[in-house]
Amino acid sequence: MSLTLAATLEALLFLSPEPLDADALAAAAEVEIDEVRAALDTLVTRYEQEDRGLVLRELAGGWTLSSHPEAEEAARNLFARPRTPALTPAQAETLAIIAYLQPVSRPEIARIRGVNAESAAATLLERGLVEESGRSQFGAVLYRTTDLFLRLFGLRSLEELPPISAFDPSPELEEELRERLLRAGEARVAG
C-alpha cells in the first residue's frame, strides 16, 4: 500500500468505535510497535499544529479521535442534543461509588447513599457507563465501570482518578461532626 503509516493509522482510528491500543494498531498495519508509537507521535503533533477540527488523545487504554471542543457549538446546532447529557446528583453519586469500589453490589451502593440506587443504576447501565460484573456471594448483581466511562470522562485509566482520600472531609469538619453526634444533645439538655 502506498499510504504512509501515519495515514493508515488515521484511517483505522477514524473507523474504530473504540479506542485502539498501539499493539492492535501494529498488528493491523503489520509493523513493529515502535513504528506505530512514532507515527502516533507524528499524528498528535500534526493535529495540534495544523488547522484541524479533530483531536487525537490516549483514553481508556487506547488511542481515539474526537471532535475539537471548539467545534462544539456548531456540533450542537447540527446534532441537537449533546451526546453526553449531564448526570443527575443521584446518578453521579452512584457512579462515583461504583468507580471507587468496583465491583460493588446495589445493596452496598444503597447502604452508602442511604437510599435506593435502582433507577440511577439502571440509567448508568443504559448509558453504558457501568456494566454488570458477575454476582456477589449473596446473588446480588455486581457493577463495574466501562471503557466508555473512561472515554467520556477523559481518563486514560482508573488510576487517573484522584484517590478517594482526596475527598475526605477536613479534620475540623470531622471533629465537628463527631462532637455533634455525641454532645449536641447534652448541650440541649443543659440549656
Binding site: 446528583p89 468507580a99 442511604g114 465537628e176
Partner: protein, 258 residues
C-alpha cells in the same frame, strides 16, 4: 476541585420529635440512643420518618444536604435496630456500645460525604469533556461479527448449563426460627372438642381456657367443622356472649358417631 466543596458543612436535620418514648429534637434522640439512655429497640423509627416528612411538608422546601444526612442516619439506625432484633452470631459483636455506634454512624456520614464530593468531581470531568464528541458510525455488518462459514467452536457449551444451574438456585430462606411459631393443629382441637362432647353440653370458654389466640382461632374453626359434619350444635345469645355447645341429636349425629 474547589476547596469550597470540601469545607461545605455537614448538617444534621433540625427536626422536633414527639414520640412515645421520646420528646425533643432529632439530634438529641441520636445522642441519647448512642449513650444508651434511650433503648433503640423501643424507638419507633417509622414515626421518626413520618415526623420528618411532616416537617418537610411544613417547611415547603427540601434542603437536599440535610435530607441526605437524615437518610444516611435513619438507614443506619434501622440497620442497627434490625441487627439488635435478630439473634445470631452477630449479636455479641453489636452490643450497642455508645462509642462504637457513634463511630459507625460517623463513618457512614463521612463516607456519604466523601462519595458526594467525588460525584461532584466526576460531574466536573464530564462537563470539561462535553466538547469532545466521538464518532459513532457503525462498521459494515461484515466487519462486525464472525462469518458463519469460518466460525469454529470457541465457546464452551458447559458455560451455558452452568449459568442455567446458577439461575435455578433458590436463595437461602430467611431464618425465622427465633420467632416462636405456635403449633396447633385442627386434628388436636377436634379431639379436644369431641372429648368434651362425650361429657355432654359445655361452653366454648371451657374448650379454650388459658389458650393463646391461635389456639382459640383453630378451636373455633374445629367447632364449625364439627357443626358442618353434624356432630354438634351451638348457640350464642348475644355478641361476645357465652357459646353453648351441645351434642347434636338426629340422624346426622348418628351417622357421624357410627
Amino acid at each position: 476541585m474547589s476547596p469550597a466543596t470540601l469545607k461545605r458543612p455537614l448538617r444534621l436535620v433540625d427536626l422536633e420529635l414527639d414520640l412515645e418514648v421520646f420528646n425533643g429534637p432529632f439530634d438529641l434522640l441520636l445522642t441519647l440512643i448512642l449513650r444508651e439512655e434511650v433503648d433503640l429497640l423501643e424507638v419507633d423509627l417509622a414515626d421518626v420518618v413520618i415526623s420528618y416528612i411532616d416537617h418537610l411538608e411544613a417547611r415547603g422546601e427540601l434542603d437536599l444536604e440535610a435530607a441526605t444526612e437524615f437518610l444516611v442516619l435513619i438507614t443506619s439506625l434501622l440497620e442497627l435496630k434490625s441487627r439488635l432484633m435478630l439473634p445470631g452470631e452477630e449479636i455479641e459483636e453489636i452490643e450497642l456500645d455508645p462509642g462504637e455506634a457513634a463511630t459507625e454512624l460517623l463513618a457512614r456520614l463521612l463516607d456519604a460525604h466523601r462519595y458526594r464530593t467525588a460525584a461532584e468531581h466526576l460531574s466536573g470531568l464530564l462537563r470539561e469533556q462535553s466538547g469532545h464528541r466521538f464518532r459513532s458510525a457503525p462498521l459494515p455488518v461484515s466487519l462486525r461479527r464472525a462469518s458463519l462459514p469460518e466460525a469454529s467452536a470457541v465457546y464452551d457449551p458447559g458455560r451455558l448449563a452452568q449459568a442455567i444451574g446458577q439461575l435455578l438456585v433458590l436463595p437461602p430462606e430467611v431464618d425465622v426460627r427465633h420467632i416462636p411459631v405456635p403449633k396447633v393443629t385442627v386434628a388436636e382441637r377436634l379431639s379436644v372438642l369431641r372429648s368434651l362432647l362425650r361429657r355432654g353440653a359445655f361452653n366454648f370458654d371451657e374448650a379454650v381456657r388459658d389458650a393463646d389466640r391461635v389456639t382459640v382461632a383453630v378451636t373455633l374453626f374445629s367447632l364449625l367443622e364439627l357443626y358442618k359434619q353434624g356432630e354438634l350444635t351451638w348457640s350464642q345469645e348475644q355478641p361476645f356472649g357465652t357459646i353453648e355447645v351441645r351434642p347434636a341429636t338426629g340422624p346426622r349425629a348418628e351417622s357421624a358417631a357410627a
